[in-house]
Each structure stands twice: as C-alpha cells, then as structure tokens.
Amino acid sequence: MIELATLLSALRERFAAAVEAAADERALDEVRVAYLGRNGEVTTIRRSIGKLPPERRPGAGKEINDAVAVMEALLQERHAQLEARDVEASLEQRIDVTFLGTPPQFGSLHPVRRVIEDACGYFERHGFAVVLGPEVEPDYYNFDALNIPPEHPAREGFDSFWVNDSLLLRPHTSPMQIRTMQLHPPPVAIVAPGRCYRRDAVDARHLFQFHQIEGLLVASGVHFGHLKGMLTGLCRTLFGAYQQVRFRPSFFPFTEPSAEVDTTCPKCGGRASACSMCGGSGWIELGGAGMVHPNVLREVGYDPEVVSGWAFGFGAERLALVRYDVDDVRRFVDGDPDFFEQLA
C-alpha cells in the first residue's frame, strides 16, 4: 500500500491545481465537492484508515485532518480572490446616468403660499404667532377701529366690495390687528396672511383678489428701528442676503409715523437702467408700514403712553412676482401646470 503521506501530498497538489484552475465560484464549488464533499476523495481516503493497524490509525487521522485544513484554507483563499475579482470587474460597469429619472408622484405648493410660508416662518422664528381671520368683515374692523371713521377720504382709497351697509370683503388684512389686540393684552406679536379684495380691474399687475401679509408688534419699548430691522431681515429671507431696504415717509390713517417700504431690485441689483422689474429705479415698492396710531391702540384698550408698536402690510402676489420674476399676476390664478412645475 502506498504511504498515506504520499497519497495526501499528491491529493493536495491535484487539489491546489484544481482550485487554481477554477474560474468562478461555481467551478470552485465543484472542486470542493469532488475533494471535500460527502463522497469526495478525502472521504474515500478517510474510509481506508480502517485497513491500517490500530496503532497507526490516530496518526493517520491527524494527517488527514491537517491536509483538509490546508485544502480548506486554499479554498478560502481562492474564494476571496474570485470575489475580489468580481468586485473589480463590476467597477467597469457604465450606465447612462442622464437617462430620465423615474418621476415620483409629487405635487407643488402655490408660489404665493411659498412666499407666505417663508415670510411667516421668518417671523415665527422671531417669536411671532401666525393668525388667520375672516374675509367678510364689518366696516368696524376694516375702518372705524383703524382710525378711519365714516366719511374719511381714505375709505375710498380702499375701493371695496360691499355685501350690505356694514359688511364688506376686507380690502386689507389690518382687521386682524384689531381682532388680535382685542383678544390678547400686550405684548402682541403676529403676522396675519390672507386673502383680500379690491375693486381693481384685472390686468397684468392687478387682480380683484390678492393676498396680504400683515405684521404687528406691540409691546413696551417697541420703536421704528425694530420695524426696520425686522423688515430688512424679511427681505433678506425672501430675496437674498444682500438686500437693502429703504423707508420713505407716507401716510396711512392707522400708523404715525408712516412709511412706504422699498427693497433693492433683486433682478438688476439696482444697476440696470432698463430693468423690466424696477423700471430702472433700482427699487421695488413692497407696501406700507409705520408705528401704530395711538387712536388704534386706544380703541383696543391699550395705553399708547405705555406701549408702542409697529405694523406693516405687504402684498404676497407682489412679493411672489418679484421673487420668481413672474411677468403677469394673472398667471397666479391660471392653474397652468407648466407655471406650477417651473416654480416648484
């Protein structure tokens, strides 16, 4: 009988050659089965141990086990090699990354809402609450309480839709100043976005319905500088970090001092002489603001000698027109998918 050692050594060599020759995982597994499987060559050799004299059997068993260990190590090594080779090969794969991505079922928020959300979010971060209110309002909230008594010429400036002698569609969101202050003692810090109505014929710059964003801060120690600070921050939130804001004297019955608020034209940066957005002035008019009139504070039971406050009212469509460079305000109510998706 051939010496076991010789036998195992030859087996190992053949095995090593076969492992080396295995080109993929399947071939490698076939090699494993042929040698180390239940009916493999090692099993055949193991069975032959029984023919040996008893004193030699343990030694022979150990020799076989050692050989198996070596073979399994070889297998493992080859396996690792093959795997590494496959990974390497997969790195060569190239797909067309420009192929259309599978579109998700995702909708969009209206640009007017996005402007309102960004503005309100800014104020909420500074401790303001956001309040909503009715669109059909008594003249008391729209005018009387805002220091615009009957016969005041300013009533005509708000060319309003009337439902009856005392009810009208609110021409501004300022009624929310009164409603909020009547419910809450100072300090009051709110923004009030919402739909408003004025009898404007519809054209590229006007709709008879629009959205306003009202802001109101009343507390002790509130001054005009705070209005400037907050509105400068708002413009930078909406239009960019380098926006400048300009206040010009103006007149509103419910504020004194009053101001018109302008911001640098985000389209031309105040540089182009023929800018379609600002007409070359470099400034965009945003709306009115000012220190709350003492009569308004008194109307809600506040003491104007103790608290002071400011308010502003900006048109949301106007902000959206400027922010998204929209040419015609009617596009906001057209329901055109292309419009929504371009601005989404």
Partner: protein, 774 residues
C-alpha cells in the same frame, strides 16, 4: 400734481438738479412719479412787430419787421394770419433750436427771412389751450430781445409729484418749496400775503353761511377789470401744470390755487344779486348750468354757493355759467372758502365731477389758507390794474391750534434714535412749527396752513422726515412670550404640505363667481356679472381648471367658502381637491381611482388629526350618487368626496374621469397624540376566507363582524379582493378576507385560530348572509 421746477425755484434756491430734487422729495414723502423732460428750445427771444406788409411775391405770406433787441430790426417772412403790427411775439432767431426744427437763414420767394415767429405748438405747448390759429402772443410790456425760454420756463423740467391725502397744503408750489427749503435748510422766499384791500372802507360784498359744511369764507370785490388774454408766463405755467388758461382773471385764481393749494372762485359781480353770497344746501329740483355747459338738477345733498335768486355754483367743485367771468366782466367777487371735505366729495360724486378745486377741498384745507390765497390773488389783480375792496370773512376765524405739550423722549420712544432739544426744535421750526422747551416738556405749535399735525406722533414723523428715515437705525426686537396661537395657520400649512406630498398641485381660483348657487352671498357693487357672488364651494372652479388641460392632473386649493344664512354671512375654511385621470374600462361595481382618492383623503385627515376617519356612503350635489362617500371624525362629518356626477362631467367637456372632494378645516379636531403599543413577542398567524355575500354587503361590515367574532386575539381583518362574474351567483359577490391573529402571552395555536375563524364564519352567515365558498 405737475410742478415746473422753474416755478419752485422762484421761491427756493435748491442747490440741486431735478433728479436730485425728485429723490429728495421722495424721501420727504412726496414721490415723483415722473420727471417730464421738456424738449430743448434755444435762441427764442421776445420780438415786437414794428410793421407788417404783404410779401411782394406771395399772397399768403407777410413780411414783418421785428424788433428783437438787436441793433437793426429783423425781416421775417411768415404765413401766420393772426399777426399785426404792435404785437409782441416769440421769435426764433437764426440758429435757434425748436423741438422739431432748427432755424436757418432761408429765402422765401426771393426774400431772406431772418428768423421765424413761433406758434405755441412750435414751443411744445398745447395749441388747443393757446393761440390755436397761429403765433403765440406775449405780454405787451416784455422787453425785445429777452430770452423767451428762460422768461417762460419753456425748457425746464416738470415734476409729477404724488401728494398723500393728509398733505393737501403740499398740493401747491409754495407747499413743496417750503418742504425743500426746510430739508435743504435754505431760505424760503414767499410773495407778499398782505391784502391790499385791507384798510379800504367799503367791502361792498357780503356772505351768509347757512350750512355748517362751510367753516370759513373770505369774499372780496374787485373793480376796474377787463377780461383779456392772461399773461404769457401765467398761461405757460398753468399749462405745464395741466390747467387750461381761460382769461387773465380766471388764470389768476387758478395760478394762486396752484401756488397755495387754496382753490379760488371768481364771480362776475354784475350777476350776483345784491353782492351777497349764501352757502347752503341745494333746494330740491333746483337747476344749475355749470361751467362745463351741463345743466344739473340739484338735490339737498349738494352744497351750493348761491345768491338770493338761486344757485351760482357747486361749492368747492365747479362754478355756474351765469356768473362766469368773460369779455363783458369789469367787476368780480373773489371767493376763498373752507368747505368740509366730506361734503365736497359727496357733492362731486353726486355729479360724477372731479376738478382741481374738488380734489383739494375734499381733503379739508386749513382755514388760514383762505386768507393767504385771497391776499395773493388781490396782489396779482392789483398788478393788472384792478381796484380792491375790503375783504369780508364769515365763519370761524382761523385760530391757531393749541400747542401740544409733549414728553421730551417721544422721538426716542417711537424712532429709537436720540436727538437733543435744539435739534428737534430746529427740525420743527424749519417746517413752520413753533417750539418752546420747558422743564421736561416741549410745547409744539403747528403752522396755520397745516391741519394734519395734532398729536405727538405727528410731530415725531415731522422730525423723522427732516432727519431722513435713513437716519433711523435698524435693530432687532426681542419679542416677549405670549399666548397667541398659530393653530389655524399650522393646520392649513400642514394640509398643504400633505396634499403636495400626495401628488396634488396647489392652485388659486377666484372667490367671486358669476353663477348663483343656493345661499350665495351677493355683492352690492360687483366689478362685473362674472364676479357677482361669493363662492359656496371651490371644487367647480378646480374642475374648470382641470378641464382646460390636455393631461391628467391633481389640483387642490385652500380657501374660504361663504353662505348667506338669514342675512348673516357664514364663512368656512375648506380644502378642496379635484382629480382628472384617464377613463378606465372597469366593471360598474369597481372604481380604483375612487379608492385612490379615498386613500389620499383618509391619509390627509389622519395626518392632520391623528385619527382614522370613518367612511360611509353619502350623497352630495355634483357627485355621482353611487360613488360618493363622507368621512367622519368622532361622528362629525369632516369631508366628502367622490366621482363627479357624469351629467356634470359632460359639462366640463374634459376627456378625463373627474373626481372631487372637500374637507372642512374648521371641523378637524385638535390632533391626537398617538400612543405606542409594543408588538407581541410571539408570532402571529392568519387565515384567509373566500366568502360569498350579497352585492350590497359592505366590506366594512364584513371586517367589523369578523373582528368582533374573533375577539381579543384579532390583529387585523382586511377584505382584500372583490369579484363578481360568471362563477358568482347574480346579486352576490365574492370577497377574499384575511384575518390576522396573535397572543401576547404565548404563541397562538392552530386550534385557537381555527376556532376563532369558525366563530367568524358563523357570525358572518347569521348577520350578513355570507357563505364560505369552496
């Protein structure tokens, strides 16, 4: 208001050009809408026509000898027909530049012309307001050779200034000149406001105020007048301001109005009975022929100025034709009155009139302006050779308003900047205020011509305007905590974001509609019939937007709907959505898109409230009677949706199947905070059932019955398939149901599960007539 810069400069030396002046005015609160640039005009001088003869070679041409200030007279050929010897006219000399031409030496029919006589048109003046038929006429006393362009301000810029409603005093040359003088801190040069009639013994005219809507009335008589062409510079200034020149007398009244803001009116004295004017309500049925040639039927709502015989004019709006100053006029009555703004506005509205006078009166002028304007007009009329009588005044005398006493720290308190008393006093006195500092307080008096300065904040604004709003330093406020809730807004914002995630696009439609629906609120003054009613629902407008599209789409809108409830307006915030999808060939008992909508709206309600809504069959106007459902939260109906009624779907002419629904945001309860329950550590098991039930049996009832019969160990019961067809009896349907079960205290056994299902089968049979299919 249009104001020629040259007129402003007459009263104030502004060290700036028109662009800078416009910017300064804007920062003072008077934005300049436009700087009207006049065309360049050069080398036009005053010329006196010394002689005139027919051109020897042309019938239609004249030869003029013109003294234009040079050593020798000029020979000028003209085709104009309104020229005569002795006239003083504008002459464009050789080399002159006019808007549309350059003057060169020209030979006309053999005679060299050394210039051109100018028509108003050639000087860029509206010819219909001037000598429409030929050469412009200058004042007889003008000096030949003087530069006409400078004399008349023909080439100077005109500012179109916007004046806010509180500053009627600044709707005037002097008002804006005063603002600029104060801002630049340069002197203001005012004309004399001494009335030359003061000291005359006889007023000759009288006034009676029979209405409280006239607080002050100055009346003054002038004799020795002849109504002729107005002075050239006056006419040009009026025209540049947009006011039509009429005659020398009327031009004075308009000129003074533009200067002082106080409208004046002149009456031909011979047409005023007893020289006595009465301010009163118009009488019912009274008639008045106004200056625009329209006969107007008056009502007592109108305020008139009248004499004993009847109305002479609409107070503060427009005069009457009967007392118009014209060629025959030799004596006039000059009116400078203070009318109540609201009354003038109502009177003007009554007749659809809006005049230079009414736009000023309706803003309520300060009474002091009446005296100022009358005096200024008297000076000018005297300059025209008139004799002035003593002015008479009726009504309250213009008394200075009481000074306002204020804490020193007002400016700091409202503006956030600190200025010393001297600085504040300097700002206010520059504007004509009086300021006295006395221990801790400032006593501030408003100037007589301003009626908008009454409270401390008014004076703070004046200080801010003088310092410039740019001087106020931006600062961030620290907002103290408060109890005001943002819940409604957060709900809307959350709803919008969820709909967006569900694939819906937000849109905005009009709240005002043309079609009336039940309980719609009607507007009293709609813009058009298309927008007469407030919407009672939103979905139709969404469907109309969808119907215009060429592809499937999903839209939503958040807004208010309105209903008339017995004269009160009920207003509800809702979210409405509409869906257009390809039509499918599904069997009549199945509608996959309905289920998708249902899934969407259930998800929305769950996200917003933390609750699973109950869904039940419902009927809603506009929706398919068999494909409509309502959603209930805590037994309150919060939403409804469904397939659009096929009859209405046809009306939209959409090539798609349409679905719509809406959610009442006001009915959604505060969100419930979900509580976590750990899952069982033991495995669950399930059993599937194939049931045959009547076609009308709902999936929900099968699920509920099964759940109840299985009891505690039930995790979920789902009807996951429905089938009708040849293998199923008519009037019945086949349902596939999966019931999942588990225990928390051990692994559930097959015997337990089988027993539970057996209980369910029995209950389903008993209550719903269900049989198990084999």
């Amino acid at each position: 208001m249009r104001i020629p810069i040259s007129w402003l400069r007459e009263y104030v030396d502004v060290p700036a050009e028109s662009q800078a002046i416009a910017e300064r005015l804007a920062m003072l609160g008077f934005p300049v809408a436009e700087i009207v640039r006049r065309p360049a005009i050069e080398n036009v001088v005053v010329g006196r026509i010394s002689s005139l003869e027919r051109h020897p070679n042309a019938d239609r041409l004249n030869l003029c000898r013109v003294d234009a200030g040079a050593d020798a007279p000029l020979t000028i050929v003209t085709a104009a027909t309104n020229v005569a010897a002795g006239q003083v006219v504008p002459v464009a000399t050789i080399g002159a530049r006019l808007p549309h031409l350059q003057i060169e030496r020209r030979t006309m029919r053999g005679i060299a012309s050394e210039g051109m006589l100018c028509s108003p048109d050639e000087l860029a003046l509206p010819p219909e307001w001037f000598e429409a038929d030929g050469i412009m006429q200058l004042d007889a006393e003008s000096t030949p050779g003087e530069d006409v362009v400078a004399l008349l301000g023909l080439a100077d810029d005109v500012l179109d200034v916007e004046i806010t409603g509180n500053r009627v005093d600044a709707m005037s040359v002097i008002g804006l000149a005063r603002e600029l003088a104060a801002s630049y801190r340069v002197p203001l040069r005012l004309p004399s406001f001494e009335n030359p009639g003061r000291g005359e013994p006889e007023p000759l005219a009288r006034v009676a105020l029979e209405s409280s809507d006239c607080s002050h009335f100055v009346l003054q008589r002038f004799d020795g007048l002849r109504a002729t062409l107005g002075a050239a510079r006056t006419r040009v200034r009026l025209a540049l301001c947009g006011v039509r020149p009429i005659n020398n007398v009327v031009d004075v009244s308009n000129y003074v109005m533009l200067e002082t803001a106080q409208p004046l009116h002149v009456y031909d004295a011979t047409h005023v009975a007893e020289q006595r004017l009465i301010v009163r309500d118009a009488r019912p049925g009274e008639r008045l022929l106004t200056l625009d040639g329209i006969e107007r039927r008056l009502t007592p709502a109108a305020l008139v100025v009248a004499d004993e015989q009847g109305a002479l004019g609409l107070a503060g709006v427009m005069g009457g034709a009967a007392s118009e100053v014209g060629a025959q006029t030799t004596a006039i009555l000059l009116e400078a009155a203070t009318f109540a703004g609201a009354r003038v506005r109502r009177t003007a509205q009554l007749f659809g009139l809006r005049t230079e006078a009414s736009t000023r009166h309706e803003k309520s002028l300060a009474p002091a302006l009446a005296e100022i304007a009358a005096s200024r007009a008297a000076q000018m009329l005297l300059g025209m050779g008139a004799r002035a009588y003593a002015p008479v005044a009726a009504g309250e005398q213009a008394t200075p308003r009481a000074a306002v006493s204020r804490r020193r720290d007002d400016v700091t308190r409202l503006l956030g900047i600190t200025l010393d008393d001297a600085r504040i006093a300097g700002d206010l006195t520059a504007l004509g205020c009086s300021v006295v500092a006395s221990d801790g307080h400032l006593e501030i008096g408003a100037p007589a011509w301003r009626n908008d300065l009454a409270i401390a904040a008014d004076f703070v604004e004046e200080v801010a305007r003088m310092e410039g709003y740019d001087a106020i330093v931006a600062a961030m406020p620290t907002v103290a905590s408060h109890e005001i809730s943002s819940r409604e807004y957060e709900l809307e914002a959350g709803a919008a974001r969820t709909m967006c995630a569900l694939g819906y696009h937000e849109t905005i439609t009009y709240s005002l509609l043309g079609a009336r629906s039940d309980n719609a609120v009607e507007l009293r003054n709609p813009l058009s019939e298309d927008h007469r009613y407030l919407r009672t629902e939103i979905a139709p407008a969404l469907l109309a937007q969808l119907a215009r599209l060429a592809h499937p789409y999903r839209l939503f809108e958040i807004g208010h709907v309105f209903a008339d409830e017995g004269g009160l307006v009920a207003e509800t915030p809702v979210l409405a959505f509409a869906v257009a999808v390809e039509r499918s060939g599904e069997p009549p008992w199945r509608d996959v898109e309905f289920l998708r909508c249902k899934g969407d709206i259930e998800t929305l309600v769950r996200v917003l409230t933390g609750r699973r809504p109950r869904v039940e069959r419902a009927e809603r106007r506009g929706l398919h009677p068999g494909k409509c459902a309502a959603l209930l939260v805590d037994d309150v109906p919060v939403a409804a949706f469904g397939r659009v009624d096929p009859r209405e779907e046809r009306a939209y002419a959409a090539p798609f199947a349409l679905y719509a629904g809406s959610i009442r945001l006001d009915r959604l309860p505060e969100p419930l905070v979900p509580r976590y329950r750990p899952p069982s550590r033991y495995p669950s098991t399930y059993r599937d059932l194939a049931l045959s039930v009547g076609a009308e049996v709902s999936a929900e009832s099968v699920e509920a019955t099964t759940t109840q019969a299985i009891g505690d160990i039930c995790t979920a019961v789902r009807v996951f398939d429905e089938y009708r067809g040849p293998q199923v009896e008519r009037g019945r349907k086949s349902l596939a149901v999966r019931a999942t079960m588990r225990r928390f205290d051990g692994t559930i056994t097959d015997e337990e599960a089988d027993a539970a299902v057996a209980r369910a089968v029995e209950a389903l049979h008993k209550r719903l007539g269900a049989t198990v299919r084999v």
